[in-house]
Each structure stands twice: as structure tokens, then as C-alpha cells.
Symmetry: D2
Subunit: 272 residues, 4 copies
């Protein structure tokens, strides 16, 4: 005997399952702008609860009219918790299986908080990093996943410093790294953030007392970087990390002397 | 003997504490666009961890040059947890005390998730509501706090239904309620959300199986409402709730037949 | 004989015009997030074509079920062009008349471009300012209108400069002024922008060659300002301008050393 | 004798032109989030003035430290006006030449307004479409450009209609088409918009009187489409248009019964 929900469903026509004769397969169909809680694993193995923005989709064969959207939501209710980065692959496999689809795609972005002691006073506060995970699984077991972080920092302009009698324009910047980890390896979000943060003129902090502010100001002035320097130093940091197989790094500077931003980007497959 | 940080701070001039002679008091000065974790109390007394967007500020007397921004962050590190709605007042009092300010203002917005069973199948999924808390404290013990929710729902147009042979245009809408609770009373976010949700043509859900979709479609058609109807029914729901002393309700409909939205708003002091 | 459209309309029931028995007047009902072209008058009397984001609404008496939303759009099709700031009042009066409403409210925000020569090279480029107009008209001829600008600039921290051996943190900031003009006077957007721009450490520019960048860097360093200083200098500029009857000024600094912003705000009725 | 600006510039060191030894070429470096006016050609050959959001960049050889950002702005000051779609290629070539760069990339997005008569009353109002242009030029004369539109419309769910006694959930959707035009051909934005608009359950309008609203409601009900149907019909429309060589189409439905969206996407190179 069927369970009641399945029986009730079968009394209603399943239009999504009907055939389609336009001979056009769909690359991706699914749900987006979907906010759902998730718990992400931290370096110490514990979990941090945050709010994910999910995008879940599958490919649809040419002869099938529609997908069953409610199943994406059901998969989210059974997500791994706490989620280590590579669990995003499991989530994509769950989507693929539950929707019986040739391909499945998952992307989720969320605020990830790190505890950050001020450089002199040591007072600890939290800084939010925009973190992300994505995965793609295909019909022949081909699968792929990536992790990403977008880290706020300070950049100080070398040209401005050099040509001016005093001072140098500086600004908040956001440094991004999207990386593919080599087969079998793993990396925590904190490890990736550590590597990214080194590329700026100086890091940003949550609580800064006066001795900290002095330190940060002087550190940035001693360490001027164009957006081009930052993106190259980001790239070098990725190349030196043997666990990274592919990367795309980017920096965006919210220029203090303009009403537009400056950005630079490098993408490289390291063939590892 | 002074603690080391305080000693180090005093070696550096405190410009913020120096006098100002422009004879202009500042209404509000503080920090904004600040993301920080918070744990909000749920109806059952447990906590839900989410991500707040904070705006913290104080008034500044005319003869003082600046405020000490780092103290706002220190207050956040000691926030009540889990936070019941009226704790936002305590947070504002902490800001006032820590910054030795005549007035203090706090506002925080965050996604709040509710478990929502589908109407027929009963399958449970989470829906995100945009919730908020704000408080203001003044020099003579005058204080004030509010809570708010922004709840997604469906609206179906009565005019479209009436004049058409079949069908009726409908759309997602967002219903907002900002309320002040009467002295000594309390209300959970879930209680406020329950009152708001009743005002729409039908609620929205996370997981909808076919029998649920049939129910939701027919329910909306049986219950057509203009944006004017929704906002009036929101107002009635607030007036019937004896714990509410003041309200501002609003609905915004993402019209399916236009590329702009329709909205309506009512604000009323119930003098309770 | 009636025109055909009116005749066709009358064949269909007008549900909006039917009575309502909830005894609740609606403060505002209308359209929002509506993008429409508009042509704004520039200082030289010519027009600048831009894209407005409109919010148009009316009040609705307690005994009327709904408003006629399509009429808002019809009013937009007949807007004054080019629009001088006080024409927003005329637009609100048109809404009031067309919808036969007790009150009407109009708000529109749009990018307004100014030509800005670099400080040394004189190379001219355009900077976008976020400008706005709003108006409110009531049943007894009471009416009110305001103009606003949000101007990007640079702020440099006096504390950071004072306590550091070299350098000083600086950042893009946005300075806002909302003003009510005294009865019978007028002001162009450019005049208001000129008064606002003076309050920052330095202005921002479109094209900056190296001699310009040197000038801007040194100018900011010579002119350090807290967000509190900026908002006070904005307030002073408003008070010194006899055509301004009421103002609300605000500065928001995108702190280069933090991942949050700093802001300050002053509102004052000058009773002129 | 040198012009004064060039002379003044040469007195200051040109750090951007200095060598770099990290052996890392940069894929893209430039400016983003830059708002600037532009005038786009309409079908009738006249121009429509709007506000562009520009992203301009170049590649940078491994041995060069930095690019000269001010030159991007200078190119914008000399943009073609009115701009026909393929002029974006000229803009990219201007960037490449002015910055003496191996590759140049241009992207600009802007609101484009079309006049839209209501289906029965014929009352005309404007609807905003999000339009875009992008181009890429390389060292060996390889070059490429694309145009895109994002058009609002209505979608009505076939499943909801079929399983329900009455009604059917419907919602605003946004349909996107990015296309590459075959060598030597041209297409106006209005022509592309016309092809895209046919794929929805019904179009959206600016002004709708009651007879129009009846028409739109019934038209949508007679023409139910899943997001999968819309994206397939978009794809068919692109395939039938001989001037299109490559396309990526997408529809995003702002589901009225959920607080998340549904989307579908197809990309195809037609080898023309």
C-alpha cells in the first residue's frame, strides 16, 4: 500500500513528467535566491551556524517537460551538518539522485565570521568574510567542487605615496579567491582566508584602540600596493600552496579618490 | 597601576576627546553596515543563531569633538544571548553607558527562520522572515523599543478575478509590521509573524507537493485582496492584539502584470 | 457620446470604487520601484536626461475600497520637462487632482551628472551624484517639497594622522543633504552640490593625472576630518545659506581599516 | 616643446611603468562600478539618453607593474553617440589603443525604455528593459561583441492551472537573452526585445485600464508556461533568427507561492 502523500499526489496529473517535443535539452533548471540556515565546519572542527543563499539546479533531457522543484527543498532539509567544504559535492550528488538528473549544480554563499585580535591591544572582535561553495556532478561520475572567500582589507597606493610630500590615498578593498583543491586534499575556510589576507597593504580589524590604529596606519604606509600588486600577490600565495589545483583571484578597490572602483583578476590552472 | 592597554592608549593623544567650538551637537554618530552574529530567542525559549546587520549610534554634545567608535564593537561582544525582543533595550543602555552619551540608538535586522508545514502534505520546510529590533534611550530614563517582521506571502487581485472569464493575476508580496509593545508585556517573533501572515490571500511555503499546490492556488483564488485590503487587514490584526501600543504596517506587491510594485501603508498610535 | 475606452471600462465593474466597512483610512497607497525617464534642469537652464526611480502615492478615505493605480502612470507621462526642483510640487498636485485624493506624495531619485575638472590638469570628466526630489500635498492647500543630494568625497582621519609617524587612513565617503527651500526661493542641484562638497577632506574626481593625484593626496592630508567634523561642516554650510529653511545632513564613511562604516547625522529646522 | 600637462606629469615618477619581476601577467585590470551617461541608438535611428554602468579593463604583460587607470575615463569622454550595438567593439578598440594593451574588455549595462501600448485601450507607457553590451579585443585582431536584454513579463504555472478547480499561480518573471550577431549583420535592441517578449505567458505593461487587465489576465491563463517552457521558447526564438550566431537565454520566475525563485538556462553555439 502506498503512503498517503504519494497516493494523493497520484490522483493529480504530473504535468512535469509529460513529454516535450521541442527537442531542446535544458542546461540548468532549478531554484535560486533561496535563503536557508547552514552550519559550516570551522578549523577547530566545531560548527558555525550561518545563513546560506542557495542556488540548486539540474540539467533536463530534451524529452522531459519539467523538473520537480519541491525536491530541491527536500534535499536542503537533509544537508550535512556541520558541513566541511567538500561536503558540497555530497549535496550535489544528493540533488542528482533525488531528481534523477544527468547533471546537478549547487552553489551557496554565506557570511563566515573569524575572530580577529587587534594587532597591538589584542582585543578580539569578529570580521565577516563572504564565503562560498559550489559543486557540479555529471553523468559519468565526473565531479568537481570549489570553495571561495571574499576578504575585506586595506590597500594603499604606491604612486600616491611616491609623488606626494605626505600621505597616500588608501581604501577598503575586497580580495576574492576561488579555488579547486587537489584530489584527496582538504582545506578549511580559515586556512584559505589566512593566505588571502597576506596580500593586502594591511588587514582590517573589528575593534581598534589607538595603539592599534597607529600600527595599522603605519603598516599600510610601509606596504603600498596597487590593485595589480595585490592580485599578483594573491596569485603567488595560491601557487605556493600545494593543495590548490586551480584558482581565480580578484581584488576590487573602493578608490577613495574616485566614485568608481579599480579591479584586477588572474585565473590559472596549475595542472596539479 | 594601570592595565597595559590603558597605559599605551594614554601615551597617544585622544583627539576625539578634545573640545569643539562649532556649537553644533550631533544627533547621531556611530557605526553602520556592521554584520555580526546574534542568537535570537524562539517561541520555545531556545535560541536561533543568525546574522545581524547592526546600526549603533549615540548623540554627541556640542563641545565634544568625536566619539570613541571602538566601544560600539566592544558592546556587541557582550550582547545578551539568546536575545528576547526587549533585550534590544538593554543593548541600547549598554551603548549609552559605555560611550557615556546622552542618547543611544540601536537597530538590527536579521533573517529569522520559521518551520512551516505544507498545508496538505504536512512536509516541513523553513521560510525566512526579515526580522528587526530597534531601541532608543535618552538622558532622563526615557526609553523606547520596537520589533518588526517582513513576511512573504501571496496576493491575488480582486478586480482581475471579477472582470476576467478565468484566472486572476497574483504575485508574491511582502507584508511588514513594526510594533511597539505595551509596557510590561512581551511577544515572540513567531506570535507577531502569525498575526501578519493571516492578512494575505494565502501564505507562501517552502516545500509544496502537488496536493499542496492545488490547495494554495484555490485558497488564493477564494481570498482575493487588493494591497489596500491587505494593509487594512494587517491594521485590524494589530488593533485586536491588546499587547500592541503602536504599529506601522505596510504591504508591497511585486505585481505580476507590471514592472513596478504596488504598496500601501497605515500607521496608528493606539494610546495603550 | 462617451469615448470608446471610457465606455469599455464602464462595462466592467469598478471594484476599487466600491465601499469598505473596516473604518480604516489608508495613509499611503501607490506605486514604487518604478523606473521612468526624466529630464532635470541644469544650472544653465538646459536639461539633463536621466533615469528616475519613482514612488507615487495618495491617501485613501476609510470608506473607499481601492485606488486607481493606472492613473499614477498617466501622470508620469505628462511630467514637466525639463523639471526644475520645485516642479516636483506640481507633479504631486497632478497626482492629487488625477486621483481625487486628500493627500498625494511623490519621491524620485536619480543619478545627476556634474562636469568636474581635475584640480591641476583641468581635464574634465563626469561625476555622478545621487539626487532626489520629494513633495507632499494635503487637503487644505498645505504643501511641502524637498530636494536632496548624495555626493561622493574623501575623508581622512585626524586621529590616525596625529598618532602615526607617517600616513593616515582615508576612504571614500558619501555626504547627504536633504533641504527645504524657503518660500519663494529656488536653488539648482549644482548650487547644493557645491555647498556639500566643501565639507569633505577633499572632493573626488573622474580623471586624475599624476599632478592631480599628488594634489588630491596632499590636500586630504592637510585637511583631516572625522565623520563628526564633516557632518558639522555640512550643517554650517546649510545654516549659512539663507535659502535653506530646514536640513538633514549625513555623512557615511566607508572606513578603510574596518569592514563596517561610520556615520553621523544632524537635522535642524532653521525656522526661516 | 611639450604641452604643459605632459611636462608636469614627467616631473613625477611613473611607477606604473616600472618593471615587475613576479612573472605573472594579469588577465584583467581596470575600472568597475562606473556610472556614466550614454546615448543608445533606437530602432528609428534616433538616440535615447540613459545611464550606463561601465566595466572597462585590459590585460597587463608580466613585466609591467601597473596600468594607467585615468585613460579609461578619457576613452569614455569620447564614446560614439548615439551608440549602435556594434559600436561597443569600437569602444573596446579605443581602450586597447589608448592603453597600448594586448587585450581590452568593455561591458556596459543600462536601462533601455520602450514605448508600450496597452493591449486593448492602446494607452502608451514606458517599460524599462535592462540592456547590455560587451566586447573583447585581442592582439591578433580577434574580436568579439555581444548584446543582451533582460525583459520583464508574466509567467503562469501549467501544473497549478491543471490541478486546481479555479485559478493558477502566476508571477513576474525576467527573461534574459545574451546574443552574438553573425558577422556583418546588425540588430536593434527593440528587435531583440520583440523576440524575447513572445516567450512568456503574457507581456507586462505600463498603463493598464480595466479592459486591458481583463485581456492580460485571460491571455496568461490561456497560455500557461513553466520556467522550462519559457526558456525553451526563448531558445527557439533565437534559433529561428538567422542573424544570431550564439545565444544564452535564461528565465527567472519570482514565484508567487514561495519565497525563492525558479530559473532555467540554455546556451547554444549555432555555428553560423
Amino acid at each position: 500500500m502506498k503512503p498517503p502523500l504519494e497516493a494523493a499526489e497520484q490522483l493529480l496529473p504530473d504535468i512535469q513528467a509529460s513529454p516535450d517535443d521541442r527537442h531542446l535539452a535544458i542546461d540548468r533548471v532549478g531554484v535560486s535566491n533561496l535563503r536557508y540556515p547552514l552550519t559550516v565546519s570551522t578549523r577547530d572542527g566545531r560548527g558555525q551556524t550561518t545563513v546560506g543563499e542557495f542556488n540548486l539546479s539540474v540539467s533536463l533531457p530534451h524529452d522531459q517537460k519539467g523538473t520537480h522543484m519541491s525536491r530541491f527543498l527536500e534535499v536542503l532539509n537533509e544537508q550535512p551538518s556541520p558541513m566541511v567544504p567538500r561536503d558540497v559535492l555530497k549535496l550535489a550528488q544528493d540533488v542528482q539522485r533525488r531528481l534523477q538528473a544527468p547533471h546537478a549544480f549547487v552553489r551557496v554563499d554565506f557570511p563566515f565570521f573569524i575572530d580577529k585580535p587587534a594587532p597591538v591591544s589584542g582585543v578580539v572582535g569578529k570580521i565577516d568574510v563572504r564565503a562560498g561553495l559550489s559543486a557540479e556532478v555529471g553523468p559519468t561520475g565526473r565531479n568537481d567542487w570549489m570553495m571561495s572567500v571574499k576578504v575585506p582589507a586595506t590597500s594603499l597606493c604606491p604612486c600616491s605615496r611616491q609623488i606626494s610630500e605626505y600621505g597616500a590615498h588608501n581604501q577598503r578593498c575586497e580580495m576574492e579567491a576561488h579555488v579547486r583543491i587537489v584530489e584527496g586534499a582538504s582545506m578549511s575556510f580559515e586556512e584559505l582566508i589566512d593566505r588571502v589576507e597576506q596580500a593586502a597593504s594591511t588587514q582590517v580589524f573589528s575593534v581598534l584602540k589607538r595603539p592599534d590604529e597607529k600600527w595599522v596606519t603605519e603598516k599600510a604606509y610601509e606596504n603600498p600596493k596597487f590593485v595589480e600588486d595585490i592580485v599578483r600577490d594573491l596569485a603567488l600565495a595560491m601557487e605556493r600552496e600545494p593543495r590548490i589545483a586551480w584558482y581565480r583571484v580578484r581584488s576590487e578597490n573602493y578608490e577613495s579618490i574616485h566614485n568608481h572602483d579599480a579591479f584586477a583578476q588572474i585565473e590559472r590552472d596549475l595542472g596539479r
